[in-house]
Amino acid sequence: MSTENSLLAISGLTVSFGGLRALSDVHLEVKPGEVVGLIGPNGAGKTTAFNAICGLVKPDTGELFLDGHKHAWPQPHHLSELGIARTLQGVGLFGDLTVLENVMLGAQKFSHSGLISAALGRTGKDEKVLRERAQTALERVYATGIADRRADTLSYPDTKRVAIARALVSEPKILMLDEPAGGLGQQDIEWMNSLIRNLTAQMSVLIVEHHMDVVMTVCDRLYVLNFGEVISSGTADIVRRDPAVIAAYLGASKVNS
């Protein structure tokens, strides 16, 4: 596998929990400007693959390449520096922070002021930078109107927007979305589709999703996991006709619709 021109690549990833093998020998890569989908039945190991990349689970074996160079599996708090941002399968907003504060937290890496200057109250400039970045990110998801609301008072679709804004604000090169459309209504799903497509100018997107409309619309390429193994990969059109994928995941009815 050539990992030269890929932004992110993993190879030979195996993860197990006790006796349970959640992923075995998984290869996957994401090229610049690409939207890559990771699909598969429930419990196939999609979130686990995300967790491995993010340092939330420790792989048994496997290598990670960033920009074509081999890289140690990162710690979760290093991701933002590495240009990787991720949303969680739940939503994972900080409930008692305002929307703006939530998003500012995602931009933390642009702040350089230390504890002393914070104590002296001299972080005004720094804060202003974060606030402006956060505002810009909220604009991109059309959520400026709710900037001052507490995150736990938001409607469900709004929480999804904010979660994405919080990921976007760190200006990642790779954005990892875990079920961004889950629980959304039809209109919001369409909005989400167009947002994701628009992002590709600045970043690559790796996406886990069960909504086939979303997957088929936005993804350039797909990997299909089943029982922790990649059973199929390629463009959406190839994958959706793969009998293995139909049998394991899509079911007969989806093929014709």
């Binding site: 993010c54 939330l56 710690q75 979760p76 708090h77 290093h78 991701l79 933002s80 520096e81 941002a85 991720r86 969680l88 994972g92 907003l93 900080f94 409930g95 008692d96 922070l97 504060e101 939530n102 500012m104 937290l105 995602g106 933390q108 890496k109 702040s111 002021s113 504890l115 914070a118 104590a119 002296l120 109250g121 001299r122 972080t123 005004g124 720094d126 804060e127 974060l130 919080r166 760190s170």
Partner: protein, 325 residues
């Protein structure tokens, strides 16, 4: 930010002015309030912001108290330096402790800090330099002569503690408003999400614990100043509990109420006293009433203004607006 600084300076003037007008007992109480203000502030930082529970802040105050007393008694360092050392060394001690504490959460942390509160003071008897149960005398020295002849000791303490409290509250409110405060609140809410935002959660928890310890150490040193003596029995478990009470009454999440909490801690025993004297002087009442009142207050506070008087006022104001609007 400049506005806040001015506000604090103005507040300082007001307090000093008041300190000049009232009798000595009030001045002494004022000094106690200042000390509690700092101590409660340290709990608010720790519990309200970073979400860690400590039932052992009394022990950290003891640590600071001993540091300050040793600095003055053994090394003859000036008072202000002793206080800085108290804050610094207690902060470092807290940081070391925090390495263990940061891995613990909820009841595990509560249990460990509780054991600290019970265990640490009795360590003082192990080292003769700490003066055993009798403790060490912290000689505050006389107030500077230029303040005049009749400038009392307590007024001097009041000035020192109030100044310390104002400076601390200024710093603390700045930090809590900065990205640090935001980060702590975030990791309290969702640790994984905070990590994905680039927050090193372990380090941030240790930092919060260390800062909070430092403040507790400073408060301990100032407490020792007001009673001129540091001894193990000055930091009983009930002190640690009282601080938590004060923080809850203040609104655990809200630095604005912190003085209120401190005032209440000082005032409750007074009220208990006067009620007790009204019931004649039954020793049973004298000995049980203050405990009863503090406990009852604590319970009422959690039941009726769980998130502090600030939030309650906010609600009331909104209701009124809603009614009039």
């Amino acid at each position: 930010m400049r506005k806040r600084l001015l506000l604090f300076i103005a507040l300082g003037w007001v307090l000093l002015f008041i300190g000049d007008r009232v009798d000595e007992l009030r001045v002494y109480q004022g000094a106690s309030i200042a000390v509690y203000t700092i101590a409660i502030g340290s709990i608010i930082l720790l519990t309200g912001y970073s979400g860690q529970i400590s039932l052992g802040h009394g022990a950290l105050m003891a640590f600071g108290g001993y540091v300050a007393a040793l600095c003055v008694a053994n090394a003859s360092l000036p008072l202000w330096f002793a206080f800085v050392m108290a804050a610094l060394l207690t902060g470092i001690f807290g940081g070391v402790l925090g390495f263990a504490a940061a891995r613990l959460s909820g009841p595990y942390l509560a249990g460990t800090t509780l054991a600290l509160a019970v265990g640490l003071p009795s360590l003082a008897n192990q080292f003769s330099i700490l003066g055993g149960e009798q403790g060490i005398y912290l000689d505050p020295g006389l107030p500077p002569a230029r303040l005049g002849e009749d400038f009392s000791q307590y007024k001097w303490f009041f000035w020192i503690t109030t100044l310390a409290a104002l400076i601390t509250m200024f710093w603390l409110s700045n930090i809590l408003r900065s990205k640090y405060g935001r980060t702590w609140r975030a990791l309290r809410g969702n640790e994984v999400a905070a990590q994905l935002c680039g927050v090193h959660t372990g380090r941030q928890k240790v930092l919060a614990f260390a800062l909070s310890s430092g403040l507790a150490g400073l408060a301990g040193a100032l407490l020792v100043l007001t009673i001129s003596t540091v001894s193990p029995s000055a930091f009983p478990l009930s002190l640690s509990f009282a601080l938590v009470t004060g923080a809850v009454v203040s609104g655990i999440y809200d630095l604005k109420g912190v003085m209120l909490g401190a005032v209440i801690l000082v005032i409750i025993p007074e009220i208990a006293d006067s009620v007790a004297s009204r019931f004649g002087d039954s020793l049973k009442i004298i000995s049980t009433l203050p405990g009863l009142l503090v406990s009852a207050l604590l319970i009422l506070a959690v039941l009726f203004t769980p998130n502090g008087p600030g939030e309650k006022l906010h609600h009331l104001r909104h209701k009124r607006k809603a009614h009039s609007g």
